[in-house]
Structure formats: C-alpha cells, structure tokens
Subunit: 164 residues, 2 copies
DNA sequence: GCCTTTTATCTTGACGTCAAGGTATTTCAA
DNA sequence: TTGAAATACCTTGACGTCAAGATAAAAGGC
C-alpha cells in the first residue's frame, strides 16, 4: 500500500465506474521520475549546476571535440524551445562555462563552445553523475534493470520512432 | 537506435571509462514521463485545466463528500510547497472552481471545497483522463503493463516506504 | 536583381515552482 | 498563567519554462 495505491483506492470508492488499471502505472512513472530527478539534482547542485545547465554542458561535452554546437542543435538534443535555450546559454555564458562565437559563413548563426572551465566542470560532474545513477538504480538487480529497460524502450518507441 | 541510444553512443565514444548501464534506464524513464505528461496535458487543456489545477481538483474529488480538504492536506497529497498551493488555490478560486472557508474552530485554518462547477468539471475531466490513460498505455500488453508496474513499484518503494 | 519564404536566434510576457521568510493563532510545559 | 515553540497559511523574489512574436540574414523562384 504505497502512495499510488492509496490514490487508486480513493478513486475506486468514489468512481467505481472507472477502469483504473493504467492510472497506477502512469502514476508510478511520474513519481519515480520525480524522485530520480531530485536524486540527480543533488549532484548537479554540488557543482553549481542544475538539470538544465547540466543538460547543455553534457550535450556539448559528449558531442566530442571541438565541443561546439549551434543553439539549434542544442535545442534538438535537449528538446526545449528557443527561448529556453537562449536563457540557458545566457546564464552559462555569464558563468564563463560556454562562449558564443558568431559564424563567419552565416551571420544569423552562432556556435556555442565549451570553455576550458566548462569542460573541466562537466567532465568532473558527469563522472559523479554516472556513479550517482548507479546508486539510484541499485534497488533493482541487473536483470530487473534490463527487463525494465526493455519494457520502457518498447513503450517509448511509440512516442519516438527509432531511426537507423 | 532511439534518442537515448544515440546519447549513450556519444558518451561511449567520448568517455569509455564510464559505466553507462543505468544511464539509459534513467534517460528512458525521464523521456517517457515527459511524453506521457504531454499526452495527459492535452485532456486537461480541453477542460481549461493544466496538470497543477487538475491535481488539486482531483484530490478534492476523490477525497469523497463533502469534497473539502485543508491546504495542508492538499500539500501532503500533491507534494508541493505551501507557496505553490496558495498560488494554485488563488487561481482555482478566481475561476470559481473551489471556495475557501475559514474554520470556526481554528482561526489559522482554511477549508478548501469544490464548488458545484468544480465538481462537474473535474468529474467530466477525470472520465476523459482515464480513457486517455488507457490510450497512452496501449503500446504495451496487459501482461507487460503488469510486469512494468511490478518493477516500478519495487523501485519506488526505496523512495517511498509503503505503509499499512 | 527583386520579393517572398525560410532559417537562426533572441525578446517579451505569462505562468508554475520553490526557498525563505512573514503573520496570526494555538499548544504546551514550567 | 504565560511565554516559547509549533502550526497554518500567505507573501516575496528568483528561476526555468513556454508560446508568440520580433529581428536579421539567407535561399529560391521569377
């Protein structure tokens, strides 16, 4: 009898006409996502970051040398709007973690590049982040994690058709 | 090869020292949660609500007659801070969906009650919401949904120790 | 060469959230 | 009885987000 079960029991009593089966599943995904998010934010915060700024720096870092992408590419990877990305980049630039370089070939275009400070910070942060993810997933065995990943991949494929 | 796989492949190339196994799992939970959240928001929006306002009205509705709880009880159920709840209640009150009643017994306390309009709205909305949840979960068979729910419950139990 | 359309990014305004703190009230131990 | 602590709710200020639209530049049809 967890939090989600209590919610389902209330609905069952008040609206016995409803077919509640998927509600528990969706509720658990949402709550688990919230707990995992909080668990990850702690590591980000220890490095002066949050999920938003980590997301940008990590995307640049894993893109490989020269650790530079355009705002549009970053928007594609992180799935946020242009206004959100402008705001994120403004803050990261103010902290000296990225730098905006105007393109020579296209005056509309900007390249966002990790500074040395940004590179060092994200490299240290992601190392801790990965270790933290291991801790967060430890409640399940490797077999269970693999089975869960299989089911989530199948579900996710309906929203994000795989390519290649 | 989905979006998460592409991220993992980039990390693998750039940081082969990292043990990336749990990263895919956590990434898929996050992305799936985002897609499901968007899918649910559409139904809320069709009734002039969003996830936040739906959450409050649904909590009041499923609490049973007289469909009234204090802000503190609502905070416990919805897991938001007091400032957030005040803001939510202000907006719902302005729309005439809830009403605040000062307590006779404790002058600090307030009872938040569904109005007739609020009751009618949330009852209609939750009916559609449940049908929508079925659609969103349709990508998995009933067996798969049950297995997924089992694994998520186990994982979630580490964050929210079950009671009773 | 021009004019429309598309592309790339930034700006604005509204909203939801939280942390920290404020105010009023109640509780409880001395 | 009274004064400190706890409780219940609200206020404030900062932040992250989005939708809509602004600006500027490039591309393409004629």
């Amino acid at each position: 009898m967890d939090h989600v079960d209590r919610i389902l029991a209330q609905w069952q009593a008040e609206r016995p006409d409803l077919q509640l089966r998927p509600m528990g599943l969706l509720g658990r995904i949402k709550r688990l996502g919230a707990h995992l998010g909080q668990g990850m934010e702690r590591v980000f915060a220890a490095h002066g970051l949050n999920a938003a700024s980590f997301d940008v720096l990590a995307t640049l870092r894993r893109s490989g040398a020269p650790y530079a992408l355009t705002p549009s590419q970053l928007m594609d990877w992180t799935m946020v709007t242009s206004g959100t990305m402008t705001n994120r980049l403004d803050r990261l630039e103010a902290k000296g973690l990225i730098r905006r370089v105007r393109s020579d070939r296209d005056a509309r275009s900007v390249t966002v590049q990790l500074t040395d400070e940004g590179f060092a910070l994200i490299d240290a942060c992601v190392t801790e982040h990965v270790a933290n993810q291991h801790r967060l997933a430890d409640a399940l065995s490797e077999t269970e994690q693999a089975e869960l990943d299989r089911l989530l991949s199948k579900w996710l494929a309906g929203f994000e058709p795989p390519e290649d």
